[in-house]
């Protein structure tokens, strides 16, 4: 049975009461415990540093050469917090409400309220660390409105909020590495969880440099390993982002929640060709001043695609500012899922632009006229430069071309209120869990969640579990489970290295990406999903029979690293499809064509689907078991989202 462990009592008091009720570990006893933290992004670095400060021994792992390079570094836009510094009506409750509504009522009220509560502490913490947030002339912190929020609650550091927050957490982590409380393992990939008597007691890792496969013991294991957007091959994630850690834990018994909830971000640079290795996001702050449009007619769009005319040749009355037209009150600032789906609709109608027809315009001409080019440069200069660098087109002179891309995964390991997965002692933090964003995440709230989990939630909740262990004894490293799990990983690596077929790992990964994008992307339907399921199963066979993995284990081995990750994506892909099939409603980022309003907007089905889907693994090629966690809404009224 799923027990979400949501505390009793009024919403606003749940977290404080819970903190009081959680058992504490005596300061002198903390040093008797070792905690493994896999991942050093915002979630992992903040957790590791905070736990070490409390006195726990911590081991961290990341696959990059330095903890500082986790993909949190790439976040541009900003981080939300209910500080209400702008006196514009923000509050903890409003941030809570916006997040629940934005998530299309598919997140837990209690978790989201806690997130909103601790958001204010995050900003204080980061400022104290020396994170150089943007400031106003008076010297106080600056805020902007972001991602369609009606209040200005987003804190930012130019276009690199993620890097600055991560460097803050990394500095706190470094301080603890320096004291010896944290041991940091870089270029290490976690490949399995070690289970003893049903509890997580360690991990098995591969040293990417030497190939050494090693077991590490700990009293608790925290997975902070990020999102799985790379199942689509093309996404805004870093090349190494993977589902491996979460998936291997899933196979050991951790339920996987809402795998089909993926977020497709509307403002990315369109694909140019087959060589494309990743997609580049441009901060959606661009939608604050840019206007999205396509030509009104297919004929004009065709001429544009063939290069017979330029965007500037199209007269004002021949342009369709479709977001402003359809959503007069939110206009270009509708939430991400709505903006993305509408861009796809325009392209499906044949009104897309660019040589491929898979793009819409984001136009700054009006903004430049209104504010002047210098102001636009001051606000968006780095984004414009990046666009120019990649496309060789000057966005000051011609509209940008944008297209949606996979960006974030709301699904992830199921966790209870304490962030513990269905495996005792195994926790999931940050993007790797499913917890706070429901079916759609609001802009600038992932950074907030990662840091909330790491700085302010896990330091309390993990202690309760450790106390309940009833013993301070070190984990028995001689327990046969360590060697057995290590051996299983070693065998899997050997099996991968024995594959000598005709396809490269990327060949298969690209095919998987196409299937996922086509049938489990921005719009899904039953027939497509069923087809995808068959295609993925075939592709998985093709992988195990015809892929080639070169080289040896005892070296930096590109093919091997990729092969292990893609093998896991091939299994996850099928579960995503199963989940999307099961959820025959539309909600947030999950749009089922069968469930739409007459105007083509997403239609939720609260009567049948107000639950979290948590999937249990039952063995290779076996159907998974669905567990449902009913979502109870005591504070907000469920309404159909409308941005008209």
């Amino acid at each position: 049975m799923l027990d979400s462990k949501i505390p009793e009592g009024p919403l606003a008091e749940k977290w404080s009461k819970h903190k009081f009720n959680l058992k504490l570990v005596n300061p002198a006893n903390k040093r008797k415990f070792t905690i493994i933290v896999v991942g050093t992004g915002l979630a992992g670095a903040s957790a590791a540093a905070s736990l070490a400060e409390l006195g726990y021994n911590v081991k961290t792992f990341c696959y990059q050469d330095s903890p500082r390079r986790a993909h949190s570094i790439a976040a541009q836009g900003g981080i939300n917090a209910a500080k209400n510094y702008q006196n514009d009506g923000d509050s903890v409750y409003r941030l809570f409400y916006d997040t629940i509504k934005g998530g299309d009522y598919r997140a837990r009220e209690a978790n989201v309220h806690r997130l909103a509560e601790v958001s204010v502490n995050i900003i204080d913490q980061c400022v104290a660390q020396g994170v150089p947030f943007a400031r106003e002339y008076g010297g106080l912190l600056d805020n902007r409105s972001f991602g369609g929020a009606q209040v200005s609650r987003t804190f930012y550091a130019r276009g690199q909020t993620g890097q600055q927050l991560l460097l803050g957490a990394y500095s706190a982590l470094n301080r603890q590495i320096h004291t010896g409380k944290v041991i940091s393992y870089t270029r290490h990939e976690m490949l399995d969880v070690v289970m003893i008597d049903g509890h997580a007691k360690g991990v098995v890792t591969r040293d990417l440099k030497t190939g050494e496969i090693e077991a590490h013991e700990g009293h608790a294991v925290l997975l902070c390993t990020g999102g799985y957007g790379n199942v689509f091959f093309l996404s805004t994630n870093a090349m190494g982002c993977n589902v491996t850690a979460a998936w291997r834990a899933h196979k050991r018994g951790a339920y996987f929640a809402n795998p089909c909830y993926t977020q497709i971000h509307p403002t990315c640079i369109p694909v140019t060709g087959d060589h494309q290795s990743k997609l580049t996001l441009m901060s959606e702050s661009l939608r604050n001043d840019g206007r999205v449009w396509v030509p009104k007619t297919v004929e004009l769009a065709e001429k544009l695609r063939k290069g017979q005319i330029k965007a500037s040749d199209i007269k004002e009355e021949e342009r369709d500012y479709f977001l402003e037209r359809k959503y007069p009150s939110f206009g270009n600032l509708v939430p991400r899922d709505v903006a993305s789906r509408n861009a796809k609709m325009m392209c499906d109608e044949g009104r897309g632009v660019g040589t491929t027809g898979l793009a819409v315009y984001l136009d700054f001409a009006e903004a430049i006229q209104r504010m002047g080019e210098d102001t636009v440069r001051a606000k968006y200069g780095n984004l414009f430069d990046m666009y120019y660098q990649i496309t060789d087109e000057n966005p000051y002179k011609q509209p940008m071309r944008i297209y949606p891309a996979v960006h974030y995964t709301m699904g992830g390991l199921w966790v209870d209120y304490n962030l513990m997965t269905s495996i005792p002692g195994l926790y999931a933090l940050g993007e790797c869990n499913f917890s706070d964003h429901g079916a759609n995440r609001l802009g600038a709230s992932a950074l907030m969640q990662g840091l909330a989990d790491g700085y302010f939630v896990i330091p309390y909740t993990v202690g309760d579990y450790l106390t309940n262990l009833g013993s301070f004894a070190p984990v028995d490293k001689k327990h046969p489970a360590f060697e057995a799990t290590r051996k299983e990983v070693e065998d899997k690596v050997k099996k991968l290295l024995s594959l000598k077929g005709s396809k490269t790992v990327d060949d298969i990964h690209k095919k998987l990406g196409h299937i996922m994008w086509e049938y489990c992307g921005m719009a899904r339907n039953e027939n497509g999903l069923k087809k995808a399921k068959g295609l993925i199963q075939e592709l998985r066979k093709e992988f195990w029979s015809d892929v080639t993995v070169l080289g040896d284990n005892e070296e930096l081995n590109l093919s091997l690293e990729k092969a292990g990750r893609v093998a896991d994506f091939l299994e996850l892909g099928e579960l995503m499809v199963d989940d999307a099939l099961n959820r025959s409603e539309s909600c947030g980022g999950h749009f089922r064509e069968e469930s739409a309003t007459p105007e083509g907007e997403a239609k939720r089905d609260d009567e049948h689907f107000a639950y979290v889907s948590a999937w249990q693994y039952n063995g290779d090629n076996q159907p998974e078991t669905l567990h449902k966690e009913e979502l109870v809404f005591e504070n907000v009224k469920l309404t159909q989202r409308s941005y008209k």
Partner: protein
């Protein structure tokens, strides 16, 4: 945007591991689109090598957005290639022409040993940061974010220093393999902010000493680092670091002698 296709000759550094000797290997890259990024060009080459059963070229990279600092190629004698102000992953093939020979090497510095092909070990940078690159505050119990106003000019300047992505191009560019630009950027970020004052001089001393221990060279102000830094970290940071380091020594001696 006008896409062109080109054929290139690559001279790539191949080295099995830290303990073996490396050498240049010539590889033809055919049918490369000018719209590809430099790393996508290498992806194409690697796919070809893999199909032929040959070991793909190992190079470090992750975000491919110019921010993680993981990519690190020395291209035709320049760290991050011919274009100023960009990382290797943001360099596009339109910066090259059909028939060109491109020499690709790893960062060269004693403190950055090659671990395979084009990848080097940059953990020395982490150790320098661990020596003192932080403000010693624990989680919780800190003042409100707006309790200390910071003049915008100062905040912006600190931000400029904080933009360093830790790629190591400055070291690779320097004939002495000095890490001064990298170290001074971090020291400056904190030196410019009120939060960094309490430990300002100790920090400078600890980080500089670790830098020396790691075997990075001295700075002889050739300015090669500044020219190659993809995010434009300024030499003025080095001047600030040197001042703080001297101050640190001065204060220490004062405490000892008083």
């Amino acid at each position: 945007m006008s896409e062109k296709t080109m054929n290139l000759t690559l001279k790539v550094w191949r080295q099995k591991n830290e303990n073996t000797k490396g050498k240049f290997v010539t590889i033809q890259a055919k049918g490369i689109s000018s719209d590809m990024s430099f790393l996508e060009m290498l992806d194409v080459v690697n796919e070809d090598l893999t199909r032929k059963g040959e070991d793909p070229i190992y190079f470090d990279h992750d975000c491919r957005e110019g921010i993680c600092g993981m990519c690190s190629l020395h291209i035709n004698g320049q760290p991050h290639g011919p274009k100023q102000g960009t990382t290797t992953c943001q360099l596009h093939m339109r910066s090259f022409h059909d028939g060109q020979t491109i020499v690709i090497e790893p960062w060269r510095a004693a403190a950055f040993p090659v671990i395979k092909d084009l990848a080097v070990d940059r953990t020395a940078f982490d150790r320098i940061q661990q020596a003192g690159g932080y403000v010693s505050v624990n989680t919780g119990g800190v003042p409100d974010g707006n309790a200390i106003p910071i003049p915008k000019i100062k905040a912006d300047e600190a931000f400029e220093s904080a933009t360093c992505i830790g790629c190591g191009a400055c070291v690779a560019a320097c004939k002495n393999a000095s890490a001064m630009l990298f170290v001074s950027a971090k020291i400056s970020q904190y030196a410019l902010l009120p939060q960094g004052q309490a430990e300002r001089y100790d920090r400078a001393q600890a980080m500089v000493e670790q830098m020396d221990k790691e075997g990075f060279g001295a700075c002889t102000v050739t300015k090669a680092c500044e020219a190659e830094c993809p995010v434009g970290i300024k030499l003025t940071n080095i001047a600030r670091m040197n001042r703080d380091y001297l101050n640190a020594k001065f204060f220490k001696e004062k405490t000892i002698h008083s």
